[in-house]
Amino acid sequence: MKSLTSEGRQQSAAWTFLAPALVLIGVFFFVPVLAGLVMSFTDFDIYSIGRPDTIRFMGMDNYRHVLADGEFWRALRNTLYFVVVGGPLSVATSLAAALLVNAKVARMKGFFRTVFFTPVVTTMVAVAIVFRYLLHPHYGLVNNALGFFHVAPIDWLGDPHWSMPAIVLLAVWKNFGYNMLIFIAGLQSIPEDLYEAAQLDGAGWRAQFVHVTLPSLGPTFLFVGIMTMIGQFQIFAEPYVMTQGGPLRSTVSVVMLMYEQGFRWWRMGYATAIAFILFAIMMTVTVIQMKLQGDRGQS
């Protein structure tokens, strides 16, 4: 039945079907990525756009300059703050929400699931603006709610010590619903008899959580952890809209620094080197995380 003509026909049909996607992805993804790698070793800047013959190769100079630049380290520190503080906070919030929505006694699960997920689909620019006002030291709802508990007003967006926590707050609110969904699916795939066996052994809810729920969620944690981290390393719109990187550059992220260098000052070679350094950091941290979690899963 699989005659030669059918095979040949599928062969040529396949490439026709693939052509639009492969051409688009090739021209607008693979070519730019490879060109970016080359560009990161050159002094490509605004003058190079009109006079490509002036472009010079500089070897590793861009990378050296980035790594010697205090601005870069400041941006990296801010970004790492976001990853290290915001990541676990966001994952913990997601897990708590998932446990509540998935609790046996909970009613209207669908309603609460939808409510918790709603921020995920909203436009970051719009909600970052909303948070600017919610975090206003005097008129903002957040400080007024805290005032109820006798917390002195916090200058969230004006005080360099509070600006990153403010961005973490926005990001956790915006994103926890996404990982919540994945945790709910993970929780639902834990076999019921594991809990029954634990109960027979006299395990209370805390023991069940520690010895049944958490270990069973291992693969989910790995997935959620890596995806969350990758997203957070690329943070851009939150600080761009909410703080413009301020106050005192306390919220400039690595991608924001890349944007400024590349598209405001047109130092494109330099900006591309920043992007590749960030990529290398993300890959390294991902591999470490997979190793750590993989080892834990085996023991």
Partner: protein, 273 residues
């Protein structure tokens, strides 16, 4: 956790969580109807004293945001339709057609998913510029017209199409194009609906690339226009909230209508691990 947490505690926490989650959005809507200056009074009011539509009127008259709304809509719908066709053709080919180099090509694409877009952003801008697409809707759309993620999702779904169904059509003399159009696409409908929702939301909400490509305020998408507006009108809380409502409303609407298939898609995407 059977009988683990008492019902009262669970529901109290759920309701508290829902309130905290919804407050920013509800306040946004409420403040957008407040008369100018009311949102910046102390203590902060939760509801408008005298609800007004003046800020919405302002957005569409003085600030001419209808133009930006139209830009966003055009780009979003364009990207969604175009990517559905391109991704479904490729996804189907990877899943069901027998050809040399299939697995190798697919592996390269999937491996490329780990590369963050920023590393190619400067050259991409230069390519878009050399094509004369800077400051045009096409320049914005170009990154979303074909996506590895979309191809991947559609391929996973298309794997379940029985080969016999396709071979029978071939024996009946149907062309490959006809098989795709009359047999494959109808079967793929559920995943296409999911991917359309994904694509709509991400294209509408996208910020960084439109910000880079568009330089003229008449060409801005709604999020870029809004981010620009907040620079000049930061004191006009109520006006900015009306703008935020306008920006969020379409995606919220699409999500609420499509949530079942959207959520299914999120879970499918996470299974690949």
């Amino acid at each position: 956790m059977k009988r683990a947490l008492p019902s009262l505690l669970v529901h109290a926490l759920l309701i508290l969580g829902a309130l905290v989650t919804l407050t920013p959005l509800l306040w946004m809507v409420s403040a957008s109807f407040m008369p100018t200056g009311q949102a910046s009074s102390f203590p902060p009011p939760l509801l408008p004293s005298a609800p007004t539509l003046e800020h919405y009127v302002d957005l569409f008259t003085r600030l001419n945001l209808a133009r930006n709304f139209a830009n966003s809509l055009l780009i979003t719908v364009g990207v969604t339709l175009f990517s559905l066709v391109v991704n479904s053709m490729a996804g189907y080919a990877f899943a069901k057609l027998r050809f040399k180099g299939r697995d190798a090509t697919f592996k390269v694409l999937v491996a490329a998913m780990v590369i963050p877009g920023q590393v190619g952003m400067m050259p991409l801008f230069l390519i878009v510029k050399s094509l004369g697409l800077v400051n045009t809707p096409w320049g914005v759309m170009i990154t979303g017209l074909a996506t590895v993620f979309g191809i991947f999702m559609i391929r996973q779904f298309a794997l379940s199409i029985p080969d016999d169904l396709l071979d029978a059509a071939r024996i009946d003399g149907a062309s490959e194009w006809r098989i795709y159009w009359t047999i494959v696409l109808p079967v793929l409908k559920p995943i296409l609906v999911t991917m359309a929702t994904f694509s709509f939301l991400s294209a509408w909400n996208d910020f960084m690339w439109p910000l880079i490509v568009l330089s003229d305020s008449s060409q801005y998408t709604l999020p870029v226009a809004l981010a620009n507006l907040v620079g000049e009108h930061v004191q006009d809380t109520e006006l900015m909230m009306a703008g935020s409502v306008l920006t969020v409303l379409p995606v919220l609407g699409v999500f609420l209508v499509m949530q079942r298939s959207y959520i299914k898609g999120v879970l499918m995407g996470s299974v690949k691990g």
